[in-house]
Subunit: 443 residues, 2 copies
């Protein structure tokens, strides 16, 4: 399998980084602060407007890329030629290899405002240069996973097919298919997501296929001859009723499915279901596509729809294309070797100093009640508290290798644990409150 | 320079493709329709809600990737193992190389609903398998370019800095920086965009840099010592007024700039300008950042701001993260070797059959009046009509090698040619109408 690793091996990911990470590195190498032990924390100050919960996406990809985040000769030469940093900094970069520890929420886990979803413990220098790459991946993949989760919640067990590759950057498309799968989508149209991550891929034909043949009958016959009767025929190129008749004439009642991609999908799905049943094609499925989002899926649940194909609104995060996560220094060593909490005081962008822990507080029925975030050591909690921090890297070695199947299961469980209100389509606040546990409050 | 080409060479771009492109290929190879000469057209049915014009982005990247769109052993083996297509199709793919012609709008050009921005002439098979990749690139890059163009229009000559890498997929970030540069941004924070495309990169320091030092004075001193007095100091970590005093004490009146990243930017910019002037630092620039978009930039034009740093809203297309372009079969050969126009009749997604030409109709002052789109041969037009179709590929060979500097100049010229209304921030219709010229209307 070619993986993102192969891509990165060719074009090192080291320069997928903001210029200022390296100038900060240079200035701190010079001042000595570069070597201070530091803790950086990734969190979202808020959820996108109206959303009830967030979904952690991208953790596995981040770990892949940190494992091989290296500055090779080509990268160093570029930085030298363009005078981004000085020679001592280039030398430091040439030897760079992440040696620290990382904890975080497991991929697929739900999260809330302030949840410390990814925590990097290293020197300042080692941690600061990972900021851009970590945020790029987690902001993108978490945004897609969150949108996907609402869609699969709305579909309530009916299969969802990811088909948005054409509406997003060509490599985002691969990550989006992966994130959607984690959040419950069944399949993707994206072949590279199949190769890189093993996401099941599906697809049959577009309108161009019908149009390149002399008529619809010829097109359907060609498709059935080549792909079998179990294929899905696209029936809205000209007239749906006519097309459905031809489809069943050509494939017989074993026809796998028909796809509707325009018009009033609910009305048409009902008409087509009746028509198929009347023709004896009672097992032929109806797949609908056409600018679907979680709201459209919700509305279509009333109809005889067997699968939803979702494109644009999935890959663009359904109105929230980024998860707004930030990567903040929350603790660092002082001159005496003591770790001290730090936080900026900017008016509208406060952060909370100190190393965090996090737990999901559950009631006696196992339903989530609150996101508990504390500073320092984890207290002996209520036995119903579910610990959320997982060890991902230890002393520079990756220790978490869970894959997308585990993340998918985890997401299903984590979502099922939320209050029922989380699955409503209506806009609202985070479905559980985030409670900061004061150190002094612990007994 | 490592380019997108190097990335693609490692992980072939051939699988950045929807599954159904290959099943259509298989079925048409079987029916014979695969070999029919065909014309596919990329266009947007509409502009994003409220937008006055679109901007063509990504053309150069598309041409790079088509040049090396090949199915290697690894890709073929994946398709064989997962049974996506049959052996004759795999054999056809193994020999695939685009042999056709491509025309389109030059990158950076403005466009309107229906503009045929990219036209592929080849066999059905050769053209259909490029659909996903072409759309992924053009939909993403055009969305970013369009948002960037509104921002640089609002900034009206003040420099704009692209710094959104952390809020989008790690490779989208590189393409976004490139698209923003084409639409008038001056610099980017993204180092890979510097390496791959020569976009100038800039950056100094984040809040973490201040926080890792014992106090602000120590941090500013470290930055000035390492990066020079010409650097830009971030002054909102604690108290802005205090920080500006320290900044000038440390760097003197030659201080390059200060950056504000929170609070009421307009009020603060005015206060800080007065403070800097009073301290004698009259040449020290004020850079503002913090969730800026074209509307915020517009409002800040009233203040003494020297540069805008834009992140999230740029890389997410400022509310329109995709350009909604489609790739449609509009003409194909029939059994007699004649080319015939084709179009689906789907209720809400009509397309117009036939090979298009396009011209920008200009008035006697050189201001755009209409987008003229016609079918067939280009008529002898008004001498003020500007022809828009450029030859990009001829008989499988790329003939256009214009780079991002040319695209940037082209965008500036094309935008300047639009009616003044195009640059207003208020939402509205496309600033010029799209007029379909009937073949019969030609004399």
């Amino acid at each position: 399998m070619t993986t993102e690793k192969d891509v990165a091996a060719a074009a090192s990911t080291a320069l997928l980084t903001d210029h200022y990470e390296l100038t900060m590195l240079q200035a701190t190498l010079n001042s000595g602060a570069a070597h201070r032990r530091s803790i950086f924390e990734v969190f979202a100050r808020r959820l996108p407007d109206g959303r009830r919960y967030g979904v952690v996406g991208g953790t596995g990809r981040v770990l892949d890329l940190i494992e091989q985040f290296r500055f090779g000769d080509a990268e160093l030469e570029h930085l030298r030629r363009t005078k981004v940093v000085d020679e001592p900094t280039l030398e430091w970069l040439a030897n760079y290899e992440f040696k620290g520890n990382i904890w975080g929420y497991a991929e697929g886990e739900t999260f809330f405002p302030g949840s410390p979803v990814f925590v990097v413990e290293s020197t300042f220098a080692e941690g600061v240069i990972l900021e851009t790459l970590v945020l790029s991946i987690m902001n993108h993949d978490s945004a897609i996973a969150a949108a996907a989760s609402r869609m699969t919640a709305a579909a309530d067990g009916r299969p969802c097919i990811e088909m948005g590759s054409r509406r997003t950057h060509e490599w985002s498309a691969v990550a989006a298919a992966r994130a959607a799968y984690i959040a419950g989508f069944d399949t993707t149209s994206n072949l590279e997501a199949g190769r890189s991550y093993g996401v099941p891929t599906k697809g049959t034909a577009a309108h161009a296929f019908t149009l390149v043949h002399d008529d619809e009958r010829e097109a359907f016959q060609a498709q059935v001859d080549s792909l079998g009767k179990d294929t899905t025929l696209l029936v809205d190129t000209y007239d749906v009723t006519n097309a459905v008749n031809i489809a069943v004439e050509v494939a017989g009642t074993e026809l796998g499915g028909v796809r509707l991609d325009s018009g009033d999908l609910l009305v048409q799905a009902r008409e087509v279901r009746k028509q198929l049943d009347d023709l004896g094609a009672t097992d032929t499925k109806i797949v609908v596509t056409s600018d679907l989002d979680e709201y459209a899926i919700s509305a279509l649940q009333a109809g005889p729809v067997d699968a939803y194909g979702v494109g644009t609104s999935l890959v663009t995060g359904s109105g929230a294309p980024t998860a707004s996560m930030v990567y903040k220094l929350v603790q660092r060593e002082d001159d005496n070797g003591q770790m001290v909490g730090v936080a900026k005081a900017s008016k509208d962008k406060k952060s909370v100093a100190g190393r965090k822990y996090a737990m999901r507080r559950l009631n006696t029925s196992g339903i989530a009640e609150a996101e508990i975030i504390g500073i320092g050591e984890i207290p002996d909690g209520d036995s119903n508290d579910r610990h959320l921090m997982v060890e991902l890297f230890k002393d520079g070695r990756r220790v978490d290798h869970s894959g997308i199947e585990e993340a998918r299961k985890r997401h299903e469980q984590s979502r099922a644990e939320l209050p029922a209100k989380a699955l409503q389509m209506s806009r609202g606040e985070a479905v559980i409150p985030t409670i900061y546990q004061d150190e002094s409050a612990r007994s």
